[in-house]
Subunit: 211 residues, 2 copies
């Protein structure tokens, strides 16, 4: 249903009601036209291929494939894609990695509704859009050491409450190795124990609670 001279938008969010709300919100604007919806990252990639929208409004956390992964994939195939990430605030890590993945902008769900349209316009014009309160931090930060992929893997598994032995079995490595990773995790994150590692990881957006 794309009309001439309107900006076509693909909405990606796992909450159907939120999608309906966003669509209603954008459809009140003459310049924007919601041409498609997707409920997870995988479907977002498929829909992008079919629809080639001018903009993608993408939620961060979704089942199956999250916003970051979908963004990375879409941008790999279509470097000119314009993607605006929409998310609850989860820590700078999440914003940072979204931008790394190729998103052009980032808007918090709890920022005023009026902020959405300027952000969409900016991204459409190829500009970056980052919440003011974060922009500064993003520049002069990062004394925090980055976790390796494997360490993130271990950290994510910690949320299950498994012991080191159980983790070792599930990961098919020895308990020694699990402990080695964990030691590195605790050191890098500057936390005292696995419980704090999990809660800090959740707050920073490094890991998430299972569905």
């Amino acid at each position: 249903m794309k009309k001439k001279n309107t900006i076509s938008i693909l909405i990606v969010d796992d909450h159907s009601i939120v999608r309906a709300g966003l669509k209603a919100l954008l459809d009140t604007e003459e310049d924007f036209c919601v041409v498609g919806e997707a409920e997870n990252g995988l479907k977002a990639i498929q829909s992008y291929e079919c629809l080639r929208p001018d903009l993608v409004l993408m939620d961060q956390r979704m089942p199956v494939k999250d916003g970051r992964e979908a963004t990375r994939e879409i941008c790999r195939l279509h470097p000119a894609a314009r993607i605006l990430m929409l998310s609850t605030y989860q820590g700078d890590e999440e914003i940072n990695s979204s931008l790394e993945a190729g998103a052009m902008g980032y808007v918090f769900k709890n920022s005023p509704g009026e902020d959405l349209l300027p952000a969409l316009w900016a991204v459409f014009k190829g500009e970056h859009w980052i919440p003011r309160e974060v922009g500064s931090r993003l520049a002069g930060r990062s004394t925090l050491e980055k976790l390796t992929d494997r360490e993130v893997d271990v950290l994510q598994r910690l949320v299950s409450g498994d012991s080191n032995k159980e983790l070792a079995d599930k990961m098919e490595i020895t308990e020694h190795t699990v402990k080695a990773h964990l030691k590195s995790i605790l050191g890098k994150m500057q936390v005292r124990d696995r419980t704090e590692a999990v809660t800090v990881g959740l707050r920073r957006g490094i890991i998430r609670l299972p569905e």
Copy 2:
């Protein structure tokens, strides 16, 4: 802005953009009229007092005071209040306690957008509205023991990653007592260790991550 013969609605959600979306969605319906918004439970109570809307569309998880607490409070003051809870699926416990608190209905954010209107109508007419897939379970359940206030307190403090000794100092009790509470928590929640207790507690909405 309430017109004659329309149903006035108060929207409560901590995400401004979601509120804007819901408002846009409801305003496309002739019969509904969004007369107010609130961003947390406290403001919801205040707004309810001022506006006396026909319906409240209330998000479950919010800072300051969550949907359950606000619902309990509003229903205590106004037993005739019609409140529809809107939330991500978080386990039956959350639904159950919402209904106990006085909500007339419960809708998942990831159910189709079309489900919202019938739910609002049902609640407006004084009927209950519960997601089909949950209704059956709610009847024959509840083997989960409830945590005491003190236990919830301990559980919440676990997210800091403190050791039992540190918790004891901060709570000004002995480590023995902390361990006693913890033992009870682990037993009631049927989890194996403090880390799992924290993640399960977060998922059930019993506790939350600090801001």
